[in-house]
């Protein structure tokens, strides 16, 4: 082990900022991070072991105890559940004789749930040792169970199991017309840096992650901030359930994304860039490395870009399973090798980002658009879209429709149009922007996709009238409680309280004051949380409670109070040990 750890540390240049990469290497080799490895790493990297343990216990993909030789994680997004995921995981659990959340006794296989894997339009999906399995059905699961029992190496598994399709259904402004590699950079140097930045400014480009901060302003603020170094970071931690457009952009348009990053680097004066790639997209890693190498070979990255003396390179850093790392300051913490806990702001990343240096963090799609604007001009870009939202938006459509996949629309497009295009019938509502966004009902389909109306980072989940609204909201609330980083009180405790309070009501144990209590708790978590996760975590409840108050109130009993836990079950142990089952050995949930 000593040798292995030394090699892993050496490969990472003994840099603590690359701790996550090292831990990933150790995890995939030993199927966990052994205590001995922690000690060795602490020595090699000159860092306290507690910092290493904190990482392991923060990120879902690291473990202190061994996982199975085949480690299977089922995507537990609502879209997977709508595709019968729950029955499928139960079936696999039965076939392989391993409980969910457990490692089988012989160590061959472990089975668990994981947050949305970004394969919503080709689900139900799972990961096996980090690699995606798509379109799972009983036949495929039986095939997989068989491969595992016969201990077939992953490399020999049939390719169709791992097939990931792009599913671009409706290309638009950007997807129809990718730029040739280097074209954006050529134009940048023809126009000059200042003129180019002005052009991005005039294009009206706003951040595509959802918040919509003006891109040119971010770049300008960063450029003007004094600093020893500057950094460009591409946020490819696409963790919002129901979002998968970055997966496709990186699979199909990575060159243009990297070009956008390089343009940004030239403008702000950065020499180092990072692609922070969510580990669920591990399958893209080698391909992306290859494209980076091609760009270096073509003089589009490296020490003398286009022969103009520009130095810039891009390193891919993989996440390790934490939704919170999509938040830009948490992402930076993670890039630095630490748990992804959002920083206090101010200061903002544009002034104090990676290694406390001025840093631009933008979404994959933002860089893609910036590169296109460089080539095609600002007028071309803002000819599309609405007054306040220039250009187009690439969305990931999943759920109840006949043609899920990637769609690109001019901003300002009504939701009704989108539902027509993807052939969605009998729509109950749409979750726009993922769990942290908003649920709109079938009465609101004339609302528009735009920063000024319905903003979305890309998630667009459709529900038809056969769906149970509570199951959707429960899935989202369990997700937030699972993904809360736990830094601040209202989110750490509040998301778990919200989850339990919602479950209580949905399970029929709610009484007179329980919806009011739920609403008060929502308000508390929303108004007091440290970052966007907590501030939006109550949205699934708030946006459905606003639209369907009766649905919630009809769940309530008229009695003054009912316990939130199963009273009779609380006697189980005592009953068993006293060998009793008489009527006095039971309790009703409420007084009869």
């Amino acid at each position: 082990m000593k040798e292995f750890i030394r090699a892993a540390a050496q490969q990472a240049g003994h840099q603590p900022v690359r701790l996550l990469q090292i831990l990933r290497t150790v995890q995939s080799h030993y199927r966990h991070i052994p205590a001995e490895a922690i000690d060795l790493l602490a020595g090699q990297l000159q860092m306290p072991r507690t910092q290493i343990i904190a990482d392991i216990e923060f990120y879902s993909f690291f473990h202190l105890t061994p996982q199975g030789q085949y480690d299977i994680l089922f995507s537990d997004s609502i879209t997977d559940r709508m595709l019968d995921k729950q029955n499928l995981i139960d079936r696999l659990s039965g076939r392989l004789k391993v409980s969910i959340g457990q490692v089988r006794e012989d160590g061959l296989v472990s089975l668990n749930n994981t947050s949305c894997t970004g394969l919503c339009e080709q689900g139900p999906a799972a990961l096996v040792n980090g690699y995606p399995l798509t379109r799972l059905d009983t036949a495929r699961l039986d095939e997989i169970a068989d491969l595992i029992e016969r201990q077939q190496p992953l490399s020999t598994w049939p390719e169709h199991l791992f097939a990931v399709e792009d599913n671009i259904k409706k290309p638009g402004l950007l997807l129809n017309d990718p730029i040739p590699a280097g074209a954006g950079l050529e134009r940048l140097y023809v126009k000059g840096l200042q003129v180019s930045l002005d052009e991005i400014d005039r294009s009206g480009l706003r951040g595509r992650g959802g918040a919509g901060f003006k891109t040119a302003m971010k770049w300008r603020l960063c450029a003007e901030e004094p600093g020893e170094q500057r950094f460009v970071v591409c946020n490819a931690d696409e963790g919002e359930p129901g979002t998968f457009k970055d997966r496709v952009l990186l699979n199909r348009y990575a060159d243009q994304v990297f070009e956008g990053m390089t343009i940004c680097a030239a403008i702000i004066g950065a020499e180092q860039g990072f692609l922070y790639l969510r580990v669920e997209y591990l399958f893209l890693h080698d391909k992306l490395q290859h494209i980076l190498q091609q760009r270096r070979d073509a003089g589009l990255l490296g020490g003398n870009i286009l022969g103009r003396g520009l130095r810039f390179d891009i390193e891919i850093r993989l996440g390790a399973g934490a939704y919170i790392c999509g938040e830009e300051s948490a992402l930076i913490e993670s890039l630095e090798g630490k748990p992804g806990i959002p920083r206090n702001r101010p200061p903002y990343p544009v002034t104090h980002g990676y290694l406390n240096q001025p840093t631009v963090v933008n979404n994959v799609e933002t860089f893609l658009a910036a590169a296109a604007i460089m080539v095609n001009g600002d007028a071309w870009f803002c000819a599309t879209g609405s007054e306040k939202s220039a250009g187009s938006k690439i969305i990931s459509i999943s759920g109840d429709c006949q043609a899920p996949g990637i769609y690109e629309y001019p901003f300002g497009t009504p939701i009704r149009q989108i539902l027509l295009d993807c052939r969605a019938d009998e729509v109950l509502g749409v979750q726009v922007g993922g769990p942290s966004g908003v649920f709109i009902s079938a009465q609101e389909l004339d609302r528009k996709l735009a920063f000024e109306d319905l903003a979305t980072g890309g998630s667009f989940i459709i529900f038809n009238t056969s769906r149970n609204l509570f199951q959707i909201v429960q899935n989202f609330m369990h997700f937030f409680a699972h993904e809360s980083c736990g830094f601040c009180t209202p989110c750490r405790v509040g998301t778990s309280l919200l989850k339990n309070q919602l479950d209580k009501i949905v399970d029929g144990h709610g009484s007179a004051g329980d919806v009011a209590e739920l609403e008060a708790l929502c308000r508390l978590v929303k108004n007091y949380s440290h970052c966007g996760l907590g501030q939006t975590a109550a949205n699934p409840i708030l946006s459905t409670l606003e639209r369907y108050p009766d649905l919630y109130h009809n769940q309530l009993k008229t009695i003054s109070y009912e316990p939130g836990f199963d009273l009779d079950a609380a006697l189980d142990v005592a009953r068993r040990m006293a060998h009793r089952d008489d009527s006095a050995a039971h309790l009703t949930q409420v007084e009869e």
Binding site: D39, P48, R49, T50, Q51, I53, A54, E57, F58, A322, P339, N344, P346, A481, H482, E483, S484, C485, G486, F487, C488, T489, P490, R492, V493, G494, T495, S496, L497, N500, A520, L524, N527, Y528, S529, H530, G564, F565
Partner: protein, 238 residues
């Protein structure tokens, strides 16, 4: 004339680089807090010091004071919400005051008193947390940890060590110890370390010093946490 911020109608001077809570404390205005301590780097996790700054909620312990800020602090709605946040801290851990040596000197308890908290309101989590009694002089009672991070910061910033860290995620967060065994006895902690004395609750206690001052004669039996904090922290700030 010096720059001022306005807290609850009162103009309060501040110096460049001061946070809202620092300016407030210097002017004798108490803002409830648990994870903040003068002289330590700001943390901003407990959220008890949330104030409303020009219409927006901000943590007073991390948010820089700036001219033109209108800050709402001592307001009924804020007090009610701070009470709820405190109740969250109570139900997520195992806080049984009658059996805790820190009772009467405990800042969590004292903040709760000051916020007029009579009950815990929420359902209890009753988490399973480990007690570390391995060290001959120091007791680590994780049931009472509120993740304020003060011991972590004290060890790093004041003691030049790295004895503590907060690990885990969400509701499963827990305090860990930097030693091969994970136990305090094998760490390099020493009784005079700041980290041993900084805990606002009874999570880190010094053994064999219990009940030297009887219950009823302790800090917050005599004065409110706002009085005690302003006395102490104004002194610290100078």
């Amino acid at each position: 004339m010096r720059d001022t911020i306005n807290i609850d109608g009162r103009n309060i001077p501040f110096e460049d680089g001061q946070t809202i809570i620092e300016a407030a404390t210097a002017a004798g205005v108490y803002i409830p807090h648990l994870c903040h301590k003068p002289g330590y780097s700001p943390h901003g996790s407990c959220k008890l010091c949330t104030v409303n700054v020009n219409g927006r909620n901000c943590s007073a312990c991390t948010f820089p004071a700036a001219s033109g800020q209108t800050v709402l602090n001592n307001r009924r709605d804020l007090t009610e919400d701070r009470q709820r946040l405190t109740q969250m801290l109570f139900v997520e851990g195992n806080h049984f005051c009658p059996s805790c040596e820190k009772s009467g000197n405990c800042q969590l308890q004292a903040v709760a008193y000051a916020l007029h908290m009579l009950d815990n309101h929420f359902p209890h989590f009753y988490p399973q947390r480990e007690i570390d009694a391995s060290h001959p002089e120091i007791l680590l009672e994780r049931n009472r940890c509120i993740f304020c991070n003060l011991c972590v910061r004290a060890s790093q910033e004041k003691d030049g060590k790295n004895v503590f860290a907060i690990s885990g995620r969400g509701i499963n967060k827990h305090l860990i110890v930097n030693s091969a065994s994970g136990y305090l006895k094998d760490s390099d902690i020493e009784i005079d370390d700041q980290a041993v004395h900084v805990c606002p609750t009874g999570a880190i206690l010094i053994k064999r010093t219990g009940y030297q001052i009887p219950i009823g004669q302790r800090i917050y039996d005599h004065q409110t946490i706002s009085e005690a904090a302003l006395q102490q922290e104004c002194a610290d700030g100078e």
